[in-house]
Symmetry: C2
Subunit: 418 residues, 2 copies
């Protein structure tokens, strides 16, 4: 069939607990459309795999291995942090992409990533017109930051939100037990450099009587006010949990984590926001503290993934292929919320030009008036996204996560220097 083309799929940016569920959705659905889609070639380490012609032949993986992607965290093909410049600024890279696409008869480009990747995908989607090579580029949304526009949420976020809500609840129960003679403050640092979506998930524990103070990147840090808020909670409840976003900053834009900490040799040291906040409270009020920095543990925590999130990640991967089969280009499948309680949604799609380079922050009416909590509106929004558990299989006490064979496709072109 003349129309039959191979597909390229790549993972981009920070990986998540469910990006492989999207990969699973893409590959399983492509396998069902063998009449129009040939093989799915995955980029080894994202778009770099396309530029260097380092393609992985996913047809060498069994159906079982591909199915296992659904419950395996991280990026099975490798990801990268690499943003294509504009066509004007770096025509050489686009020409190379087209050479690689031509050499391997690639007509579909599925790019699985966040905001920067949506921009890359948008640029690739313009290649048909700009450079005369027919390619359909579809973006598959993914980001724990939940900051893509139009879609109700981004795959990866619901699972981090669940992990943070569960972990904050558990650690808060712990500090409550210890507060009489020992720890009164527990500080947990969460991801989110610009948007406070993940931090907001910590606020869900307030429903269970946990006193919690949240530090959002959207709210400028006011030390005096913050210390007073913590003191009030401890005086009322005997303890307090603080959820601090890594993006929390002073009015001048300086991050809490970058307050000029130096090691014994006077070198500037990268610390976290959590120890800074914990020490600040100790100094002001004398409360004993503990602190945690969840970092990769939060975004990789497939063991406590949200069932809703896993399902959406898969469905968006599937929808991307279905959109391609329908002849679409330059679009991204989206989650369209239909109702809050019970949470209902359908899969829709958006034009990439409306997605690229737009960042979605927490609406002000999701954050309580004092700036330290979440509103009912936010609670309703978040609640749907953390519904259900989707446990991986275990063997000998550990989850069974798949590592693919990742066999390379034979190269046809000369090397390319990045």
């Amino acid at each position: 069939m003349a129309r039959k083309k191979n597909a390229f799929y790549a993972q981009s940016g920070g990986v998540t607990a469910v990006i492989n569920a999207s990969a699973c959705g893409v590959i399983e659905t492509a396998r069902k459309h063998g009449d129009v889609i040939g093989k799915v070639y995955a980029g080894r380490n994202g778009i770099i795999g396309a530029l260097t012609e380092d393609l992985i032949d996913t047809s060498k993986e069994s159906d079982e291995a591909i199915a296992a992607l659904r419950s395996t965290p991280s990026g099975a093909f490798g990801s990268c942090r690499f943003k294509l410049k504009s066509l004007e600024a770096n025509k050489r890279e686009y020409e190379r992409l087209i050479e690689v696409f031509k050499a391997h008869n690639i007509g579909y480009f599925f790019y699985n990533g966040g905001g920067d990747s949506a921009d890359t995908c948008y640029k690739v989607s313009q290649l048909s017109e700009a450079m005369g090579y027919p390619i359909q580029a579809i973006h598959v949304p993914k980001t724990v930051d939940n900051d893509l526009p139009i879609t109700d949420c981004c795959p990866g976020f619901g699972s981090v939100a669940k992990y943070i809500a569960v972990s904050t609840l558990e650690a808060s129960f712990d500090v409550r037990s210890m507060a009489k003679t020992s720890t009164k403050i527990f500080v947990v640092e969460v991801m989110g450099r610009h948007a406070g979506w993940i931090a907001a998930a910590g606020g869900l524990v307030a429903d269970q009587g946990i006193p919690v103070v949240i530090l959002f990147p959207e709210i400028e840090f006011d030390q005096k006010k913050f210390l007073a808020a913590v003191k009030a909670k401890v005086e009322e409840h005997g303890f307090c949990t603080v959820v601090v976003s890594e993006g929390c900053h002073y009015p001048d834009g300086k991050f809490l984590a970058e307050q000029g900490t130096r090691d014994a040799f006077g070198h500037a040291q990268l610390g976290g926001a959590a120890p800074v906040v914990a020490n600040m409270i100790k100094e002001a009020h004398g409360y004993k503290f503990h602190w945690a920095v969840a970092d990769y543990l939060q975004r990789a925590a497939r063991h406590i993934a949200s069932k809703t999130d896993v399902k959406q990640a898969y469905e968006l991967g599937r929808a991307a292929v279905q959109l391609a089969v329908k002849g679409k280009n330059s679009v991204m499948p989206t989650v369209v919320r239909l109702s809050d309680v019970p949470y209902k949604y359908k899969i829709g799609h958006a034009e990439l030009k409306d997605v690229a380079n737009v960042e979605k922050f927490m609406p002000r009416d999701f954050i309580s008036k004092d700036g330290y909590g979440i509103t009912d509106k936010c609670r309703k929004y978040l609640s749907g996204l953390i519904q259900g558990e989707d446990y991986p299989k275990y063997e000998n006490g550990l989850p069974v996560y798949v590592t693919l064979k990742n066999k390379p496709v034979a190269k046809k072109l000369p090397d390319f220097k990045l």
Copy 2:
């Protein structure tokens, strides 16, 4: 019945994901022995509740609420960090304990804790002879540090070990995905000030092809050798995971976490070992890193508790009551290992005099020759303890953890100043 006495139960020291499962075992079993055991009074905030006559009447809690303790992390009655001095050094406190026991017809003392608490329990067990008050004191083992002697393991440890193994596996998959253009090093800091049992659990991921370097408190830190070990792993695998125990220290005893870090104002700052190690690697080799400090998240993580651990915690609570009913004093129920694969054990018991003030470290033959990994012997030991999952129930995406009513018993004595 003349013999019928009430029981006192208290939780001591750092709480765990399963200490409430032991409470559940104690209370459910006591309820079945109504002929000899009256009510179970819990100390609010541990032994402090006994000294201040702040007792909780657990008979006011429904069977359902007590059963729910089995799947609730933290200490449901509150814990404390408070060690009784010797009888000679502080007779006043022991006399007070006896007054409270007498006032409330308490003849059984169940103390749920680690090494320090075993010592307290041992002292209380001597009161019959020393002060002429008949009391049976039974210690219920609990500590994530796994450092009590005689027993195969300590409830709380298996679940932390599982959490650390699972989390290290997940985060390692993550960094493996990112390593080509971004993060090559992931450092996770775990608990264990003196003994490296928890850090050892991170070593279980090596079976799945993850390059991991472990820093034990038992092995003096050698910066040059460590940096070389990390470099070798990165050169072979492209990335490396480092598991650092909070107790890791230099030959002179100085903890890595206390390397004299100062904030912008020159104040000494409490940091973690993880950022210190991460920055050290960056400075030597330039590798991009991420680091996490699990802190309370690890010991509170009931959502991923080991089924074996939960079962043992319950059984040891039950055994404590059974030992009391049999007339025993000054003992601790223990786990006796019968086989490694499959892991089989029975419940035995030890004399408290053999338990108190003895700390169990990792045997040297559990640590690999180079000091950075675990041996097969250690792997076999750990594997049994993390077997099985014991998921809590969820509602609206969050685990259902019980908060008891904790109704006080009416006071009968004058106040007591601690």
